[in-house]
Symmetry: C2
């Protein structure tokens, strides 16, 4: 078997799934449906390694994964073939052959959390937003967001299930703005702990409601105390937008050098 | 019981419903869920008369209905109270007390049919579009649309179940345009026969694919032959956008004149 290394970009509506990561049957996960479809096309079992383990109900526009497969189908045809075997809530957006690509080596990820604030109900958007029933001050929330930027120990914003040893992450950018009925929270970071984005949003909303001043954010970070931060917001508003990787090392991707 | 006449504007995601019109239990219909919620609030059975009998899977942003109810709750509070008892896929957008208002007396309705045309799958939009897998010529389709405008016998565009006696309708406006991955067909008319919009779209798409020239539309209308028109398109792309009524007659809405 001559395996090639594939890079996949995957979008999905997470509403019907118990998250990305494969679990014992019959728990529906995105990883499982992609692996099954990919394996049917190439006629051997395929393991699809995702970059982010998105939780149950979380969406993605740009999940990235790698997988090894043995096929002569060219990448764009392979993409269409896999899609033809996927349900309508999962879409392979890109497929390329990329030797040595490793989806676990992300350097930057962007998440978006969408809050719905309107007299009307979200209706067509209901699975993709959190419906907020109280008034919030955008300017105070924006000030709170800016306090997240930098390299910090985010243990106060970590969900309990997370067992990763280092809790230091770098936030490159964090903002919140209103667009029509949507209030959109965006964050780019080197990586995120379990429930970290949803806990950040819960804290920003606590600021927006006037339950705490924006200046509390640095204190919460410093005190490393989960109890000081806001609540974990529901999954439906969260979407993994994109993941960036280091530029490939030419010495690696070009294959072995001639003698 | 002192009944007041209410006008309701109702939006819904039709995906989970067997259309607007009440059917025997347990068939889920929008009329039934609105009647149940309304009745629970006012503590008596309520009949909600819709203006359009949208089909299974068809959506609405502006369905209009009337209902008689006995309550002292002011309309905006009543709207919120009904919404609080409705599932997330139905939203009462407006409630007002309007004596003599009759939802069956519409003078103009606007429908939109959304076609998805992209290399990517519709994903978050999948329940609200028809996914088109072939190339279409927008300019030819626009020419086809313009042939619908006017007062015509639309029997060739009528679904078989329709038993209304007159099949003459006036189309005030009909166009199609592209916006990003969407191709949006819009039509305003005095009223529409069963499956009429979906049959019009099927015919316009046949023109867009080059299966017939735009000039066939007047011929199909003239020949009154359903077999000449295009296929009935799936419900998911269709949305009832709004319904207009005659300005209320002051002599009627002011109540009986003094002696």
């Amino acid at each position: 078997m001559a395996l090639a290394r594939y890079k996949l970009v995957i979008a999905y509506d997470g509403t019907a799934y118990s998250g990305w990561q494969r679990q014992p049957d019959p728990v529906p996960t995105v990883q499982r449906v992609v692996e099954r479809a990919f394996g049917q096309i190439v006629n051997h079992p395929v393991i699809v390694h995702g970059s982010s383990r998105t939780d149950a109900g979380v969406h993605a526009l740009g999940q990235v994964a790698h997988a090894d497969a043995d096929t002569h189908i060219e990448p764009e045809r392979l993409r269409r073939a896999i899609n033809s075997r996927l349900p309508g809530d999962v879409d392979i957006r890109a497929v390329e052959i990329l030797p040595n690509f490793d989806a676990s080596r992300a350097v930057k990820k962007r998440y978006r959390y969408v809050i719905w604030r309107s007299r009307q109900r979200p209706l067509f958007y209901r699975n993709y937003v959190y419906e907020c029933r109280f008034h919030t001050e955008i300017s105070a929330m924006q000030a709170a967001c800016e306090h997240f930027v930098g390299t910090h120990d985010f243990i106060a914003f970590r969900g309990r299930l997370d067992e990763r040893q280092t809790t230091v992450r770098t936030i490159f950018h964090c903002d919140i703005h209103r667009r029509g009925p949507f209030i959109i929270f965006s964050v780019e970071g080197s990586g995120f702990l379990y429930h970290m984005v949803r806990n950040m949003v819960g804290t920003v909303l606590a600021v927006g409601r006037g339950h705490m001043p924006p200046e509390n954010i640095p204190t919460i970070i410093e005190k490393r105390d989960r109890a000081l931060a806001g609540q974990c917001m529901p999954a439906s508003g969260l979407c993994l937008q994109w993941i960036r990787f280091e530029a490939p090392d030419p010495a690696k991707t070009a294959g072995p050098l001639p003698d």
